[in-house]
Each structure stands twice: as structure tokens, then as C-alpha cells.
């Protein structure tokens, strides 16, 4: 390959489509880096604060499609107050200046104003596709300007409009199902949708006191009938280790497994035990698992299993789980491919937080809320790791600069969000956020 002319290399690289692979290509050597960057058509920015928009356009001057994610995942669940940030304006502005041939913008969890949409509508002659997922700040007026001004528009999709209610989109696609169908309905799915790859079962009623709907049996039935399952999102009232072991055995190809037992810390419905072994079975059996969300009663053991077996895991969501710092430490030490770690309401403290210091640059972002970490530990992390932005959300009652530093450092941090960045501290923090 060394003596091929650049045009040939470029031609070959042109067949490499995925972001992952393209990123790998760019690391081979300087020549390939430059060929690749000039040839790249599509870039995905997983954190809008990780890099300045201008820098992106300098490296990739010829992109046609840009995907950007803003707020952390837990923003979806009201854990982040309004005004936190993630405005799309700087990105749209810099695209408008550097990239008039832009055809597609995909924004997720960003604040998009009508003015911003207008800028999009008026800046790109060939604009074809706008996808907004979990975004806010705009109205139908803004969307209307896109529709009227973009003559080549093929696709505007505000994913909030995706229908709920039960329908099964063919035999290969995902299924959106409300759980008022119940376990029997899922058995019907299991017997008729043998090619099913993605399953999502939402609670018909999110109020915890009404425990109707599906149980572990529904999911077991689907796992038996639909062994091509790749992705599961399942809200239910109860679960057992036996069921999880069965599911793990039946669906070793799972790449995403998100289980939400509605009541936090619910134990095995039959044995009363923690669900460590069940989730342990999932990570042992599903070697390609990339995403895992856990719930139910879980001790440090489940994290030991995850650290040991979940080699391909990229995103882990933890809620109301674990006993000691060891839980978090097992994951930090074990999961070498982890990119996103989000933890809420779990008893992990400073020792766990600081144990991961060397890991956080590789782990793109860490969210911790309602845990046991203190301001002092966060400050110390921020000082040691200049390539991380360490942001804490302060409660109204106390301020960062209080005179008594020792007492201040001992204060518990309610919400921590840290992420790797080459853009330095962001300059648009609201009052309730402090960048350490």
C-alpha cells in the first residue's frame, strides 16, 4: 500500500463508510490522515463541547453531513435544568461560513431556536435533511422556514413525532409496543416475529403505584422466539435471575440491553436475591454487548462481572445500584472500551471517582448524580486532568468560592458531568453550573 499514489488510496478509502473505521484510517500515517480528512463527507461529534466548530471545519473542509450531540443522556429525564447549554447556534454559524454545501444536519439533545433554523434554511443551497432528536427551543415557525426555503429537502424529521401505541413494523425492523399488551401479547410477538431485531416495551403507566403490565415472562418469551434480537429496551414490574440467564442464553447477539424495573432496587421476584447473577449472565453470554442499562437490586458483584466480561461495552447506565466504591472501580478498571458512563443514586464516592482519573480521557464522558462525591475530589480531578472539563451543578444554597475551603471541599456534589475536550472550558455556562 505504501507506494500507491494518493488518488488510489483515496479511492479505496472512499469505500470505508463508518465513522469508526474512518477514524482508524486517519491514524495510520500522516498521508492517510490528510487523504482521509479531505475525503470525509460525514462527521459525528458526540459531544458539542469536545471541540470547537471551527476546528472541525479546518480538519474536514468538505463534509456534507454533520451529526452533533449536546446534552448528556440523563437530560432526557429532567435531571438537567433548563438553560444548561448545548445551543446549536455556534455550530450552524460556523457551518454556514465554512460549509455552504452542507446537505444534512442531525442534532440530538441540543437547543435549536427558530432563528437558528432560519439560518439553516438560508445558508445551504443543497440542504436535504434535518433530523432533530430530543431537541428543544423551536416552534413550527422555525420548521416552516426550513420547509419553505429548502427546495431540495427530502427529509425533515422531528423524532418527537414518532408514534407511540402498538405497531410492529414488519418482521425485520424494531417493534414499538406499549405494555398494556401484557405478557400474552409478547408471546404473540415471539411466535410471529421471528426476525425481530429490536424490541422496546414502554410502561403504559409510569406511576409506580400501578403495577400492571409485563413481567419477566414476556421478555423470556420474546427471547425464545426471536433469537436474532440485537436491541432490547424493556420496562417491567418484576424480574428474576433465572429469566435473565435464559434471555442471555437465547440471545447471545444482543448489542444493547436496557432493562428498567419500575421500582428502584427491586430484588429477584422469586428468590428475593439481588439480580447480580442475571446481569452477569447477560455480559458473559452477549460478547458483543455495547450498551447496558441496569436496574433492580444490585450489589458490587454485578460490577465485578461487568468489568470482567463486558469487553465491548461502550455505554453503561447505572441507577440505584452498588454498595461501595469498589463497584465503580471494577467497571473503570475492566471495561476498556467504555465511552459513556452515567450513574445516579448510587453510593460511589471520592475514592471511586479518583480511581478513574487516568481513564476519563478515553471514556468520553462521566455523569454522576446523587452519589457520594465531594467538591474537593472534583477540584482535585480537574487540576490533575487539564484535558477534561469538570462541571458541577451547584445547589442554590452554597457557592464555590466560600471562604472556608476545607468545609467547602467536604460538601457533597449533587451533579457532576465531566468530559474530555480539546476546546477548553466552555464559555456559556449558566449560573447553576461551575467549571472547575
Amino acid at each position: 500500500m505504501v507506494y500507491f499514489p494518493d488518488e488510489v488510496v483515496e479511492n479505496i478509502i472512499g469505500f470505508v463508510k463508518s465513522h469508526r473505521d474512518r477514524n482508524a484510517v486517519s491514524l495510520v500515517c500522516r498521508t492517510w490522515y490528510h487523504i482521509e480528512r479531505l475525503n470525509r463527507r460525514s462527521v459525528f461529534v458526540s459531544n458539542c463541547y469536545a471541540v470547537h466548530p471551527e476546528r472541525l471545519h479546518v480538519r474536514f473542509p468538505r463534509i456534507r453531513s454533520l451529526s452533533i450531540k449536546g446534552k448528556p443522556h440523563f437530560a432526557d429525564f429532567d435531571l438537567i435544568p433548563a438553560g444548561w447549554g448545548a445551543k446549536a447556534d455556534p455550530w450552524v454559524e460556523s457551518c454556514a461560513r465554512a460549509c455552504p454545501d452542507m446537505e444534512e444536519l442531525r442534532l440530538k439533545r441540543m437547543v435549536v431556536s427558530d432563528e437558528c433554523l432560519k439560518r439553516v434554511a438560508c445558508s445551504f443551497a443543497n440542504f436535504k435533511s434535518l433530523v432533530l432528536v430530543s431537541c428543544e427551543g423551536f416552534s413550527t415557525n422555525g420548521l416552516a422556514t426550513i420547509a419553505t426555503n429548502c427546495r431540495v429537502l427530502s427529509r425533515t424529521r422531528k423524532l418527537e413525532d414518532l408514534g407511540t401505541g402498538s405497531f410492529v413494523r414488519g418482521y425485520n425492523a424494531g417493534a414499538f409496543i406499549l405494555d398494556y399488551i401484557g405478557d400474552d401479547g409478547l408471546r404473540a410477538v415471539a411466535s410471529s416475529c421471528l426476525e425481530l431485531q429490536e424490541l422496546r416495551v414502554f410502561p403504559a403507566n409510569t406511576r409506580l403505584e400501578e403495577r400492571t403490565g409485563v413481567t419477566e415472562e414476556g421478555l423470556v418469551a420474546v427471547s425464545l422466539g426471536c433469537q436474532k434480537l440485537i436491541s432490547v429496551l424493556y420496562f417491567c414490574g418484576r424480574m428474576t435471575n433465572t429469566a435473565l440467564v435464559t434471555i442471555a442464553k437465547n440471545c447471545p447477539r444482543l448489542k444493547s440491553f436496557r432493562l428498567c424495573i419500575l421500582e428502584p432496587r427491586t430484588s429477584d421476584a422469586v428468590t428475593g436475591q439481588p439480580l447480580d447473577d442475571g446481569f452477569g449472565a447477560i455480559v458473559q453470554s452477549c460478547r458483543g454487548l455495547r450498551r447496558l442499562s441496569m436496574s433492580g437490586l444490585l450489589t458490587d458483584n454485578v460490577f465485578l462481572y461487568i468489568g470482567m466480561y463486558a469487553e465491548k461495552l461502550e455505554m453503561l447506565s447505572v441507577a440505584f445500584a452498588g454498595d461501595t466504591d469498589n463497584g465503580m472501580i471494577y467497571v473503570l478498571n475492566g471495561c476498556k472500551n467504555l465511552k459513556k458512563l452515567e450513574i445516579r443514586d448510587s453510593p460511589f464516592g471520592d475514592a471511586a471517582l479518583l480511581a478513574g482519573m487516568e481513564r476519563y480521557e478515553a471514556i468520553c464522558s462521566l455523569w454522576m448524580s446523587s452519589c457520594n462525591i465531594t467538591l474537593g475530589a472534583c477540584k482535585s480531578l480537574a487540576t490533575s486532568m487539564p484535558n477534561l472539563n469538570v462541571e458541577v451543578m451547584t445547589e442554590a444554597a452554597w457557592s464555590i468560592d466560600e471562604a472556608d475551603e476545607e468545609a467547602n471541599n467536604a460538601k457533597r456534589v449533587e451533579k457532576l458531568y465531566l468530559y474530555r475536550t480539546i476546546a477548553g472550558p466552555r464559555d456559556d455556562v449558566p449560573g447553576f453550573v461551575t467549571v472547575l
Binding site: 429532567d78 430484588s267 421476584a269 422469586v270 428475593g272 437490586l297
Partner: protein
């Protein structure tokens, strides 16, 4: 997380002087402190937040026997952002499941409006939606001609004056006809 749930419940029920629900099927727990509810028979539906927290801890600790024996669970404390369902989906789910809920109509008066309106609080998922609905009800009528609005209007064929049907309710307020479903 409380391990001594049973002990604390006995202590607290003694302290508060309340009867421990002794039916075989009910597991009730209370933390020390005042209990709001006056009707003692419905203690399982008390809105006291401390009680809810205790019972949610208990749910985590319960043995299989207790789980099998427990009657419909006591109301749980609302945890922020839990279960993790996006709010738009919660709203959509509520719409679908929705009309079984009893309506909660309240009267709304706005200074300067010639008549009052009634809104069903159960129909809105949050303050944003409610405010938008109120805006539609009061200001759309006066400032912007709503195209295809479904207020019933009578138009005088001769001079084009519009009339809306109203009635006087038991409080002596003038209300627009149509806000409350006929049945």
C-alpha cells in the same frame, strides 16, 4: 437503605399511636412523625412523603413471602427522572391511556373577558400546556381570528356580528357554552 424496616414500623406506630394494620395481607410502614390522613382506614393511601419513602425501602428489602402476601402497594415517592421515560413519551402514553381519568374542571376568569371559561386540568401534562391552552381560549378569541376554531358561534346574517352562547352558573358567573362535555 433501611434494613430494620419492621422494627422501625413497630416503633413508629407505637410512637404515633396509630393502629398497625393487622390484616394478613397488608404490609404498612411508617416513619415517626405526623400522619396527615384523618381517615384511619385508608392509611395505605396517606400522602405523607415519609411514609412513601419507608414503603419504597421496604419494597426493596421484602422477602418473597412478604411479596406474595402484600396487597396493592402503598403509593411510592416520586423519584425525579424515574422511571427513565422521556417526557414527550409520557405525555403520548398518557394521551393513549388517558380518557379513563376523571376530568377536573376549574373555572378561569381573565380581567376584561366578558365571560369565563372552564378547563380540564387532567387534560394537560404540565403548566406549559395549560398556559398555552388558556392563551388559546382567551386571547385567540379576541386578537386573532382562529381559523376553523370549534367554538360555537352565531353570526347575524344581516350585520355580521358574532354571538357566542353563554350561560350564568350558580355562582353568578357568565360561562362560555361548550367547555364542559355535555355528559
Amino acid at each position: 437503605m433501611s434494613v430494620e424496616t419492621e422494627r422501625s414500623s413497630t416503633e413508629s406506630s407505637a410512637a404515633s399511636g396509630l393502629d398497625f394494620e393487622d390484616t394478613a395481607l397488608t404490609l404498612t410502614l411508617r416513619l415517626p412523625g405526623p400522619v396527615v390522613s384523618s381517615s384511619s382506614s385508608s392509611s395505605s393511601s396517606s400522602p405523607d412523603l415519609d411514609r412513601k419513602r419507608a414503603s419504597s425501602d421496604a419494597a426493596a428489602d421484602h422477602s418473597p413471602l412478604a411479596a406474595a402476601a402484600a396487597a396493592p402497594p402503598a403509593p411510592k415517592a416520586r423519584v425525579v427522572g424515574w422511571p427513565p421515560v422521556r417526557s414527550y413519551r409520557k405525555n403520548a402514553l398518557a394521551d393513549v391511556a388517558g380518557s379513563s381519568k376523571a376530568a377536573k374542571f376549574v373555572k378561569v376568569a381573565v380581567d376584561g373577558a366578558p365571560y369565563l371559561r372552564k378547563v380540564d386540568l387532567e387534560a394537560y401534562a404540565g403548566y406549559d400546556q395549560l398556559l398555552r391552552a388558556l392563551q388559546d381560549k382567551f386571547f385567540a378569541h379576541f386578537t386573532i381570528r382562529k381559523f376553523g376554531d370549534d367554538e360555537r358561534k352565531l353570526v347575524d346574517a344581516v350585520n355580521g356580528t358574532e354571538y357566542v352562547p353563554t350561560y350564568e352558573d350558580k355562582d353568578g358567573d357568565w360561562m362560555l357554552v361548550g367547555d364542559v362535555p355535555w355528559k
